[in-house]
Amino acid sequence: MKATPHPADATPRPADADLVLADIAGLLARLLEDEYGLDDVEIGMATTFNRDLELESIDLVTLSGLLEERYGGRVNFAEFLAGMEFDEIIGLTVGQLVAYVVTSLKAAEAS
């Protein structure tokens, strides 16, 4: 994991969510630039994929591939979304994905 330096008093992993958010924001920025030519989109935990980023479901397939490139088989975005109702997917936030990735990475580390 490409970790940015954190304060010395940080416990081993309190900033997981921040690191993962930075990762995912980077992947989304790449996707938005490649597909829509956008380069100035702000992405935070509360950002929604559908309403805020205007992503279509086919963009989420692309994001799934980017997540796999970044995290390997430890994160399965398709399975994550397949467990959701349609309305939940429409309302999905970056923060929910960050939480899922953090949980998946911890589970992979523990096993």
Binding site: E54, I58, G65, A78, A82
Partner: protein, 273 residues
């Protein structure tokens, strides 16, 4: 993103399989519907459960749709059938595959199976029907309305859709308008070659038909069941044309039961949890 060149046409393909290193037991090829649809309708619904059940799962975007190339013409059913054959050749999938098609994707799947029976093990139609003269005429009417209302009167049409169907549907409709305006799809689909009842009845592969109980297409279930020698139909109450996305677990369970040759369908994925 995996782009596959099928010989002059680049198609976006996603392929997933069992994750535990087991060899796949069979290949399922999932074909999506017209205009607003893409392989995402499978990728985030039934595909993960199919892969977990041991299948090699191939999904692709039809020409003009999703991330596939968008030529300005060549949108008849025969073009789509040829694209599918070229794709399977290019992927070196030579054994019989289980075809699954949603809406127009099922019409492609059935047409492919009628033309290349040796390459098909079964056909699952979701909210779909074989290409008949009645089908071509119905699609012609729908596409005329799309072209007239969406492609040539887009701002008003999109405002109505946003107000009545929501932001997400309006965004999908904008993509559909672009496809209808930029290509010959609207003229090509209704001009497609169709099958006679005798040709449909000659299908020797097992066929599953899944319909939403509130969909206009549900009335096709008895017709299909009586015409085909080996056909099972399922009508899922409380759903319309988007039953694949809305009731993915139930739909996927019926398809897996057909593919695995079992009689009892078990719900897969979301609804099973």
């Amino acid at each position: 993103m995996a782009m596959v060149d099928t010989g002059g046409l680049r198609l976006h393909v996603q392929r997933i399989g069992p994750r535990d290193g087991r060899a796949a037991t069979a290949t399922a090829v999932l074909v999506h519907g017209l205009l607003t649809d893409s392989l995402a309708s499978y990728y985030f619904t039934v595909a993960p459960a199919f892969a977990a059940a041991g299948l090699d799962v191939v999904m692709y975007d039809l020409r003009g749709h999703g991330r596939s190339e968008r030529p300005s013409d060549g949108y008849t059913l025969d073009h789509n059938i040829d694209d599918l054959r070229a794709l399977l050749d290019r992927l070196a999938v030579t054994g019989p595959v289980h075809l699954v098609g949603n809406s127009y994707g099922g019409t492609i799947a059935f047409g492919f199976a009628a033309r290349h029976p040796e390459r098909v093990a079964s056909v699952s139609l979701i909210e779909s029907e074989p290409a008949t003269a009645a089908w071509a005429s119905k699609l012609g009417g729908i596409l005329d309305r799309v072209v007239a209302q969406l492609a040539h009167n887009e701002p008003e049409a999109l405002a109505w859709i946003t107000a009545n169907r929501g932001h997400n549907t309006a965004r999908l409709a904008r993509g559909a308008a672009r496809l209808a305006r930029d290509t010959t799809l609207g003229q090509d689909i209704p001009a497609s070659g169709v099958l006679t009842n005798d040709q449909i009845a000659a299908m020797r592969r097992p066929v599953l038909g899944v319909y939403g109980g509130d969909s206009d297409l549900a009335e096709l279930a008895p017709w299909l069941g009586s015409l085909l020698p080996d056909c099972r139909t399922v009508v899922i109450p409380g759903h319309e044309h988007s039953v694949l996305v809305e009731a993915a677990g139930t739909v996927g369970g019926h398809i897996l039961a057909l593919i695995q040759g079992t009689s009892a369908a078990r719900s897969v994925g979301a609804e099973a949890r």
